[in-house]
């Protein structure tokens, strides 16, 4: 956090000054570790094992915040007896289909709800459906059976306890390389600091998402925080430190293939052929919670898109929407480019030649387009791949044979345009424009508006049905200034929504109507223009308000700063303690009150109990804080929504030097793979030849640079602070490989080779994993060939294997070889790589998704790596499971 979010870290230092303990878990000792009370080195890619150990510690010793857990989570809920755990099936949950490498979730449901789950999670995976749950949980129908004594063998609490029973401190040590004493120190501190009177905060940076089990990493953290009563309370929570000024905004108002604004799903050709199908799939009739109004949100979006043309009679132009048929994510798209299926590509402030995994695929894809439009502040590697990329060096791209037509359009900077960013805590902050953009530099608002204007004018008069969506588009934004820049506030008004007849801005999404009389571009942002005032531009100084600072900017939804803050009060609505009071029930005035905007219906008393058949918001009880969940409860166990299991389970990274000590299943059995010759995966045990790539590498940021470097390698006063690509290695590895400080080394994977200067440092340590010494090396991923300071891009080392829930690639851990000296150059480089692939047995071979058992080295669950009885028994389990599937 000190490393990548230094200004946010001031609050950690503030807490430390007041006596808070800071624990930092990271593969390398960073600037955060330097200030931490406790630093825990960990093998990259093993966080679930570590956190699972904490879960076990809490449950085995019954250290959970019982009153919170019983009232606010689904710990008491009974799960169907069809459910089988990974403990029963050696690393797979029930319902696994090995042919589709995905689950049928029916056997994960609450008892009595067996028909509820998704049967076809392969489709869900291709459409990254997990992302929809960023604003709300998946559906649950009706009432669930509960045992509030938590003793029922099939209640979530007991299932959780069994699931994590083997995540002992010894197992944590074996998997993560974390010494037992260290683990115990963290577990004790976390529990001791989580009470009525104290809360513990879990902060992760979004490197957590860049794993083949990334979503489950975060779920494990959430399970701990729920068990300890740290969600919805001040000083608690699971906080994502996102890495880009408006990356939260670009998920809320997504430029993502599978989402529409406000986490509405992009229609799927098979699931949503009609408007009714689409609305129903969002709304889940009979569902409890705020998604009951989903139809209004959908109608308002279509009205915002197609204005007067969108009428109830034509289903608000629903037929104008493009339909998904599967995975249209950025990696699939890049492979489609290589295959010649994509004609044109826009890069809008993005530099995939450096910033995306598998740089070679990115560049070869761009070299096989008809045209490419790059909009950026600076000349970046993604605009010049045709003349100076690695592939030009190797002869794979020759400028005179590369047909891609490239347009470089300079962009306006953040001070040259007004607009809003949404920061990492959902807070929208408006920027005023300071100066006009120089030369041809223009905002993306200008570019998209005028591109639309020109395209529409070229189509004027067309009678083709396909052109109606463009011609009927509501595209009449006022423009201003010498460059005819569209008025950004007019766009924000549309996003907020208004009553069409009066143009009165809506104050809340509850004012959205499903009849077409209102429109709004993003329902969760409704209220940002309440009272006709740009609430995101509010700047009441922090010193003049309380610490929640509700009058600085505006947070969605409805300016709530801590989500689910009803949980900061006990079931009766009283603060858990005076010290941690935040939102509470004021019985005299009959309303919720507190320092924040209550994330609850303002006048619904804690004693409210819904009728048995109540749906929508009325179905949420007065002591159910998790109002966007179908059952009002926080989910320790997810009967649906997570495609790779109802509980987080440790799987090894897709590339790992060690066998999974916990289960026969080596890696996430539902991960998204692209089995192509140009996307090889290094072998991992039990596959042979893993020793060709014996080291673990991980990448992250330096304080002094920003992501792919386009905004820092080009800036003199940043470039000089970290002027060259380097690799950090432990002294022991330096000795093992003959690496010299500030000398050259190169790193090799089956995809690529990069060279870097060597930084030998005590801040990295080898770890002991299963009796072996495992070395990890660390690389910054900021470098490329453009700008003031250059270096080879670390992302060239990665391939593309994705988390199944959100289709984000595993780019925080891989295996590699590390060798002294510089890499081979020119065409020799290709031979060098080919030789590594040959030695690793990768010619045409991809590791199996379901771990093959051929050499019988699968560990037994008692922990002995070479236990003779293990494989047989487990094979039996597998067989029975496969019969099930």
């Amino acid at each position: 956090m000190a490393e990548a979010h230094p200004v946010g870290f001031q609050w950690v230092m503030e807490a430390k000054r007041r006596g808070a303990k800071v624990i930092h878990v990271d593969p390398r000792f960073t600037r955060t570790s330097a200030l931490a009370d406790s630093y825990v080195p960990i093998r990259a890619g093993t966080d679930i094992a570590f956190l699972g150990g904490i879960v076990r510690h809490i449950l085995e010793n019954e250290l959970d915040f019982r009153e919170y857990v019983v009232a606010y989570t689904n710990a008491a809920t009974i799960v169907t007896d069809e459910f089988r755990d990974t403990e029963d099936l050696d690393g797979l949950f029930s319902g696994y289909d090995p042919d589709r490498t995905s689950y049928d979730q029916r056997s994960w449901q609450y008892a009595g709800h067996e028909t509820n789950g998704q049967v076809d999670t392969a489709t869900e995976r291709d459409t990254a459906a997990g992302l929809r749950h960023e604003s709300h949980g998946p559906p649950v129908a009706g009432q669930a059976q509960r045992d509030e004594t938590l003793q029922h063998p099939r209640c979530v609490y007991q299932i959780l306890k069994r699931h994590y029973a083997r995540y002992t401190p010894e197992m944590v040590e074996r998997v993560c390389g974390v010494p037992r004493e260290k683990f115990q120190e963290v577990a004790d501190a976390w529990v001791a600091n989580s009470t009525r009177d104290r809360t513990t905060m879990l902060v992760y940076s979004v490197g957590w998402t860049q794993h083949s089990v990334g979503v489950q990493y975060i779920r494990t953290g959430a399970i701990i925080q729920l068990l300890l009563g740290n969600i919805g309370r001040p000083g608690g929570g699971v906080l994502a430190l996102r890495g880009h000024a408006s990356i939260q905004g670009s998920t809320d108002i997504p430029t993502l293939f599978n989402l529409l604004p406000g986490y509405l799903p992009m229609p799927n050709h098979a699931q949503h052929p009609t408007f009714e199908d689409w609305c129903t799939s969002i709304q889940h009739p009979g569902q409890k919670g705020f998604w009951g109004n989903a139809r209004a949100y959908a109608v308002n979006l279509l009205k915002a898109y197609w204005g007067a043309a969108a009428t109830p009679e034509n289903d608000f132009c629903y037929d104008y929407m493009p339909r998904m048929t599967g995975d249209h994510g950025t990696y699939q798209t890049v492979f489609n480019m290589i295959d010649g299926k994509v004609k044109g590509y826009f890069l809008l402030g993005q530099n995939p030649a450096v910033g995306s995994a598998h740089g070679r695929a990115q560049r070869l894809g761009m070299a096989n387009l008809d045209w490419l439009v790059v909009r950026d502040l600076f000349m970046i590697e993604s605009a010049t791949f045709w003349k100076d990329s690695r592939e030009v060096e190797t002869g794979e791209i020759a400028p005179e044979r590369c047909r891609t037509e490239v347009f470089f359009l300079p962009a306006a900077s953040h001070v040259e345009k007004p607009g809003s960013f949404t920061q990492t805590q959902r807070l929208l902050q408006w920027r005023e424009k300071a100066v006009e953009a120089p030369g041809d530099c223009r905002s993306e608002l200008w570019f998209s508006y005028h591109l639309g204007r020109i395209v529409r004018s070229k189509l004027a008069g067309s009678t083709r049905p396909r052109d109606r969506a463009l011609l009927d588009l509501a595209w009449d934004y006022p423009t201003e200034g010498p460059h005819a820049e569209p008025d950004a506030e007019a766009v924000l008004r549309e996003i907020n929504g208004y009553e069409i007849a009066t143009r009165r801005p809506l104050a809340s999404y509850v004012e959205m109507k499903p009849d077409g009389s209102t429109l709004g571009g993003c329902w969760i942002y409704t209220g940002v223009f309440a009272d006709g005032v740009n609430q995101a531009a509010r700047r009441k100084p922090g010193g003049e308000q309380n610490w929640v600072a509700l009058e600085w900017g505006w947070a969605w939804p409805l300016n709530r700063r801590i989500l689910y803050n009803r949980a900061s009060a006990d079931p009766e609505g009283r603060p858990w303690s005076d010290r941690k009071r935040y939102v509470w029930w004021d019985a005299e005035r009959g309303e919720w009150t507190g320092y924040d905007v209550p994330d609850f219906e303002k006048t619904k008393p804690p004693t409210y109990r819904p009728a048995q058949d109540a749906v929508g918001v009325a179905g949420i009880a007065g002591d159910d804080p998790f109002i966007m969940q179908g059952d009002g409860k926080a989910w320790l166990y997810a009967p649906s929504g997570a495609l790779d299991g109802p509980l987080p389970t440790h799987y090894e990274p897709v590339e790992s030097p060690v066998r999974n000590p916990l289960y026969g299943q080596q890696a996430n059995p539902t991960r998204k793979v692209y089995e192509r010759p140009d996307n090889p995966t290094n072998p991992s045990p039990p596959e042979p030849h893993a020793d060709v790539f014996p080291y673990v590498f991980t990448v992250s940021r330096l304080t002094e640079h920003h992501t792919a470097g386009g905004m820092s390698r080009t800036v003199r006063h940043l470039a000089e602070l970290q002027p060259e690509m380097f690799v950090e290695v432990a002294p022991e590895l330096a000795v093992e490989r003959g690496l010299t400080h500030l000398g050259w080394a190169h790193l090799v994977t089956s995809r690529g080779v990069i060279e870097a200067k060597v930084m030998v440092t005590d801040r990295l340590t080898p770890l002991r994993i299963e009796g072996r010494i495992i070395h990890q090396v660390w690389l910054p991923y900021h470098f490329g060939s453009a700008g003031l300071v250059t270096g080879e891009p670390a992302n060239d080392l990665f391939g593309a294997t994705l988390d199944p829930n959100v289709l984000i690639q595993e780019s925080k851990v891989g295996t590699c070889d590390v060798r002294p000296g510089r890499r081979p150059t020119g065409p020799d480089l290709l031979d060098y790589l080919a030789d590594y692939r040959r030695r690793a047995g990768l010619d045409g071979h991809h590791p199996p998704i379901v771990t093959a058992d051929r050499d019988g080295t699968r560990p037994a669950d008692d922990g002995a790596p070479d236990d003779e009885t293990g494989p047989g028994r487990q094979r039996t389990d597998r067989d029975s499971h496969e019969r099930e599937g």
């Binding site: 200004v7 001031q10 080195p41 037992r180 003959g738 770890l767």
Partner: protein, 349 residues
């Protein structure tokens, strides 16, 4: 011309320098125990003061690629990696890991010479020359501060259980007795009403006398320009009641700006607090009006000996003996100058 130095705390040096009713003396207290090494100070300083780039060299001194305070770097964050515990750590960072024995020149050379060929052809063989590996293993030249034998470095330690990473933002000390100012022949270096020491670039003629005079090696001439440059404590900003750029940017309040007396009180309280919290090595540097430079306007809380951070342990104003030497010569010069002035002023304008 200077008066003999007092050995006790002077009155406000601004008053001594002729400022009538000066504002309180202002300064920096840099608390390295909360520094996160982000270098925001370096950048904020350069942006405000329009300081040019100082070179694009990877120095290999941990995360320090600035190297030193120069004419083009008025803030410099030093990074020191040490096999010592930090007082706030509840357990040694690398405890229980299989970190090896200390690498020595001999073991490194042996390893470099015997690295196993992975059978990769074509390829680049492991370094055939063991010398660089040995040099690397020789210790402090590859980590932390350059040079060898610094206190705090322990090349012969067993294993690598303890680890702390010291970071310190260094800056001009704005000495009470400032030798740079004493030797400046042009009056370019002067004492401001805030008690700070500032180079006036419209006066500086680039003679460079100040450079060797500084006991800290701070002031420096800019190549291609010739004039001397250093921290001004943002004279323009503080004159307008604003904070110096570095202090305003500092995310963790490691750099604190304020009235020197108040900062000294604050610093003493902070040291007491750290001592109570189990950080006995915390100590102040440059805070003492009785030290060899009469105390610094920019002083520090350090967690190790000053040398570890590249600071002189006992700085002494280099012009300590000058007053005695110059008193006679000065008087003579002054007499002559006064005569010349009288000749001019006496004429009608």
């Amino acid at each position: 011309m200077a008066e003999p130095r007092r050995t006790t705390a002077p009155v406000n040096p601004a008053e001594q320098a002729g400022h009538v009713d000066p504002p309180p003396r202002m300064g920096f207290f840099t608390d390295t125990s909360v520094c996160i090494g982000c270098k925001a100070c370096e950048v904020a300083c350069k942006e405000w003061n329009l300081v040019p780039e100082s070179g694009l060299d990877l120095l290999g001194m941990s995360y320090d690629n600035t190297g030193a305070l120069t004419a083009n770097s008025w803030r410099h964050v030093a990074f020191v990696e040490q096999a010592r515990p930090a007082g706030w750590q509840s357990s040694p960072p690398m405890a229980g890991t299989p970190s090896g024995p200390p690498i020595t020149r001999a073991t490194a050379e042996a390893a470099a010479g015997t690295a196993v060929d992975q059978g990769t052809r074509p390829g680049v063989l492991p370094a055939p020359d063991p010398a660089p590996a040995g040099a690397m293993a020789a210790g402090s030249q590859f980590l932390g501060m350059p040079g060898t034998g610094l206190p705090g470095r322990d090349a012969e330690r067993d294993g690598r259980t303890d680890l702390r990473w010291l970071m310190m933002s260094d800056v001009c000390k704005h000495c009470t007795h400032a030798a740079c100012l004493d030797v400046c022949p042009t009056g370019s270096l002067f004492r401001t009403e805030f008690g700070t020491v500032v180079v006036q670039e419209d006066i500086c003629n680039g003679c460079g006398y100040c450079v060797p005079a500084c006991p800290y090696g701070v002031i420096d001439q800019r190549s291609g320009d010739g004039r001397a440059w250093k921290c001004t404590l943002c004279y323009d900003r503080i004159g307008a009641g604003r904070m110096p750029a570095c202090a305003q940017a500092c995310p963790t309040e490691s750099i604190q700006y304020g009235e020197l007396d108040e900062l000294r009180d604050r610093a003493r309280a902070r040291v007491d607090r750290l001592h109570a919290d189990g950080v006995p090595e915390a100590r102040l540097y440059g805070h003492d009006p009785d030290d060899g430079v009469g105390g610094d306007g920019a002083f520090f809380l350090l967690l190790d000996e000053p040398e570890v951070y590249g600071l002189p342990p006992d700085p002494v104003v280099t012009t300590r003996d000058l007053p005695r030497m110059w008193r006679r010569a000065g008087l003579a010069a002054l007499t002559m100058t006064a005569a010349v002035v009288a000749a001019f002023v006496g004429r009608p304008s």
